[in-house]
């Protein structure tokens, strides 16, 4: 697909928005998610944005309702979050400006069930008869 050449203004505008969000995170600890899905970005603009933000140190993959890829950019506190599969058609790629992406955090509601399953595992192993010498 061919695109118009002068596409950099959209990328600059997005980078300015990221800068505002990052300042808010640094000064008020308030995270922001910028949803790129609704924006009519061309592939060239998208690539330019990826190139501008660069690659960071952390990459993670989440397998829940399709695959979600989390990549840190070269700008600390700015993360790419992209959804594939069934989730990808509802939400486009996002830029999450946060200390860590919310999806990577263990949901508090699941801690007790995790504890219960570990209890069950250890209880079962204690009930097993000790092997005779």
């Amino acid at each position: 697909m061919n695109r118009p050449e002068n596409a950099s203004s959209a990328v600059e505008a997005l980078l300015c928005e990221v800068r505002v969000a990052l300042r808010r995170l640094a000064e008020a600890a308030e995270p922001t998610t910028i949803d790129l899905g609704p924006l009519p970005l061309s592939p060239a603009e998208f690539t330019a944005l990826e190139r501008a933000l660069g690659e960071g140190e952390v990459t993670a993959r989440l397998d829940a309702l399709g695959t979600t890829s989390v990549r840190e950019t070269a700008v600390p506190g700015v993360w790419w979050v992209t959804h594939d599969g069934c989730a990808g058609r509802v939400a486009g790629p996002q830029l999450e400006v946060a200390r860590w992406p919310a999806l990577l955090e263990t949901p508090a509601e699941t801690l007790r069930s995790g504890l219960a399953s570990l209890d069950a595992l250890l209880d079962a192993s204690q009930e097993r008869p000790t092997p005779m010498n």
Partner: protein
């Protein structure tokens, strides 16, 4: 299925993790135009939401709206919400038929009086006593009135239910009318489209389940989250429009290069919908991306608006070769086009024979043409 179970518990039983649920709520919040933090509150509200009774009435329709929702690709995000409602009546989908089906509708109306949602697809014929479409010997109009009486709210799904659609196109032989013309005094939300985008249906349901009220609507009763912006404003071909680069045929150089389809009749500038964002067929594309102009199917009277392949208006001269001049041409042409298209639709509205009813949905109505 236990009707007292929370949505999260139900999803857990289906093998969907808490994190997946939170992910879905985050995406749902984004699609509803809510701030980032709303994903968590939406999840908590949906967790606590009781199972909602829904009665789905299908009148003069093609079943495309039901297909849009139920035949989405698996595993469907839509099913997360759709499975959480108690679909007490849908005569296309339900196993029961005949008297058993109608009994199910009446039982749901009695058991959940004042609480159930009524989803309607299809327009309602009112000419000649409504004889042109009946179910179980009852006219669509009677069934709508009876079911709407104790409903908490109504949702008109698809352009036929919301605006009359194809059945109401000139000369409107059955006297077709949209839900909003026949039911008054009840909250009503219009979800037009031919068919409507599934995410808009489930988004509205989720919003109602979570917050107990309908989302913010525009002047045509459509949720602003999905109909707040025009196809044109979100179209990836918009930069070509701004530069005055148009396809002039379906096989010319402009078409091959993916230029703007405005001169081929695209109604994107005057059409409000989320196709360019949400897309169709598992996120594959939308009509303009497939090389076809937008038909404007989510706007009132789109069938009578002057022809699908007729441009809203032609620019007065050849587009200027430079972007700045093209932008000016585009802006002027767009404003003029919007005005002319609205005028065409207004003329179509004025020309059609009107069918009026004497009273609102709670009383007996008589047609006066």
């Amino acid at each position: 299925m236990d009707k007292g179970m929370s949505l999260a518990s139900r999803l857990g039983e289906a093998g969907i993790s808490r994190r997946a649920f939170l992910k879905y709520c985050g995406m749902l919040a984004a699609s509803l135009g809510l701030p980032t933090a709303a994903g968590r509150t939406l999840a908590e509200a949906l967790d606590a939401a009781p199972r909602q009774s829904v009665i789905w009435l299908s009148f003069q329709e093609c079943t495309g709206c039901t297909e849009s929702l139920t035949r989405a690709h698996a595993p469907t995000l839509e099913s997360l919400i759709f499975d959480h409602v108690s679909l007490d009546y849908h005569h296309t989908l339900q196993a029961a038929a005949g008297e058993a089906a109608e009994r199910a509708r009446h039982e749901a109306m009695e058991r959940h009086a004042g609480e159930y949602l009524v989803l309607v697809d299809g327009s309602i014929p009112v000419r000649d006593g409504g004889v042109y479409s009946t179910i179980a010997g009852v006219t669509n109009l009677q069934m709508l009135q009876e079911t709407a009486r104790d409903a908490a709210a109504l949702v008109a799904i698809g352009s036929c239910a919301a605006f009359g659609g194809l059945p109401m196109a000139d000369p409107n032989p059955t006297g077709a009318a949209p839900v909003g013309d026949l039911v008054r005094g009840k909250p009503l939300i219009n979800l037009p489209g031919c068919p409507p985008i599934p995410a808009s249906i489930t988004g509205v349901l989720a919003h109602y389940l979570a917050y107990g009220r309908l989302p913010e609507l525009d002047h045509l009763g459509r949720p602003k989250a999905f109909f707040g912006e025009s196809i044109h404003d979100r179209c990836y071909r918009r930069p070509f429009y701004d530069q005055g680069l148009f396809a002039r045929g379906f096989d010319d150089e402009g078409a091959r290069k993916g230029w703007c389809l405005y001169l081929l009749g695209c109604k994107g500038p005057t059409t409000h919908n989320a196709c360019a964002v949400t897309k169709w067929n598992d996120g594959t594309s939308f009509p303009i991306e497939a090389g076809h102009p937008c038909l404007g199917c989510s706007e009132p009277r789109f069938w009578d608006a002057g022809g699908f392949y007729r441009a809203l208006s032609a620019p007065t001269g050849e587009p200027a070769p430079v972007a700045v001049a093209g932008l000016a041409v585009g802006a002027v042409a767009g404003a003029a086009a919007g005005f002319r298209h609205r005028r065409t639709r207004a003329a179509a509205n004025a020309a059609r024979p009107t069918v009026e009813l004497g009273r609102d949905a709670t009383g007996n109505e008589e047609e006066r043409s």
